[in-house]
């Protein structure tokens, strides 16, 4: 006789992962497709066991650490920029403390795979947030400057102009006019 079965691959993988992580007594959260957040630091031995036991199901622990690290750097920068309470003084110390790598290592990996430096990316990200605030909130430039840890409004405007080629106010004007046009034009 023939038996027909239906299966859910996503659920299968998750269940396998759960069983094996539990078996090794690791505390974790499945954070998304193909990503496991492990609270403790895994010992080499445990990691080996885990990777061996998952292998027969065709589940592999990714070792392209470079790209993963780049994403983690970006996430750390985002978190830093969005945290209003604790403003770290130096980006380099903040990143090496958060990610546990030397800044030299982080910055060389980052530049290698993104065509830009951590500093330039951070500036771009900051300017992106300024744009966001300008379009979606009623915050004044002074408030935005304070929020994003700029030393002054002049510094913010200068960096904005240098990066985007537009002044904050001309940018705001264009975005306002754009909003009033046909809604499906982006």
């Amino acid at each position: 006789m023939i038996l027909f079965v239906k299966y859910n691959l996503n659920l299968m993988c998750k269940t396998f992962l759960k069983e094996h992580l539990d078996a090794l007594d690791i505390s974790y959260t499945l954070t998304g497709v193909g990503e496991v957040y492990i609270k403790e630091k895994l010992s080499q031995e445990k990691k080996k066991k885990l990777s061996d036991s998952l292998k027969k199901y065709g589940i592999e622990i990714l070792t392209n650490q470079k790209l993963t690290l780049v994403e983690r750097i970006k996430n750390a920068i985002d978190e830093m920029l969005k945290d209003n309470e604790n403003k770290p003084l130096k980006l380099s110390t903040y990143l090496s403390d958060t990610l546990n790598y030397s800044y030299t290592h982080l910055s060389s990996i980052f530049s290698e795979s993104t065509y830009t430096s951590i500093e330039n990316y951070t500036i771009l990200r900051k300017v992106d947030l300024v744009k966001d605030y300008l379009c979606n909130t009623n915050l004044t430039l002074t408030e935005i400057a304070f929020k994003l840890n700029y030393s002054s409004v002049a510094h913010l405007s200068g960096q904005f102009k240098k990066t985007t080629g537009l002044t904050p106010s001309s940018f705001q004007n264009i975005m306002k006019k754009k909003k009033n046009l046909i809604p499906n034009i982006k």
Partner: protein, 148 residues
């Protein structure tokens, strides 16, 4: 490294400009594939072919015969298949009115054609880097607006 190829398209009616642009892009240390079109209609015909791989970035000259850059831009932004493409205007005009108008029509980047080659290389490199960041990071594409 695992960096992917950037697909880039240029539409410009001036043969010298096209040649210089190609040379500049070849000298830049970013892996790219460049397709070149002589005027706007040729570009639009290409973009609307079925099953093509859409470019990551389009450089568009404003003054072209048959179909100019502004017309192309408007067509791109009103076509659901194309409206998310990144468009850089590449023009000799530096009039504020032109610039504002192209932004309102949906351009992402406005580039003034530089007058010498080394400057051109620099500018194109900056645009590619910028586009790469928007391509790979969670930057807000709705406010993707730069003048270089």
């Amino acid at each position: 490294m695992t960096n992917k190829l950037l697909n880039i398209v240029l539409a410009d009616d001036d043969e010298d400009d096209r040649m210089l642009f190609k040379e500049a892009i070849d000298e830049i240390n970013i892996r790219t594939k460049l397709s070149i079109f002589n005027h706007g209609q040729q570009l639009m015909d290409y973009l609307t072919l079925p099953n093509i791989i859409l470019p990551n970035l389009i450089f568009l000259d404003l003054n072209m015969p048959i179909k100019n850059g502004t017309q192309c831009l408007i067509e791109i932004r009103s076509n659901p298949m194309l409206q998310d493409l990144c468009v850089a205007i590449y023009s000799t005009s530096s009039s504020e009115r032109d610039i504002e108008e192209t932004f309102l029509n949906g351009a992402n980047i406005y580039v003034n054609k530089p007058t010498n080659f080394s400057k051109l290389r620099e500018v194109v490199e900056k645009v590619l880097q910028l586009n790469w960041q928007y391509h790979t990071s969670n930057l807000n594409k709705d406010t993707f607006l730069f003048r270089i």
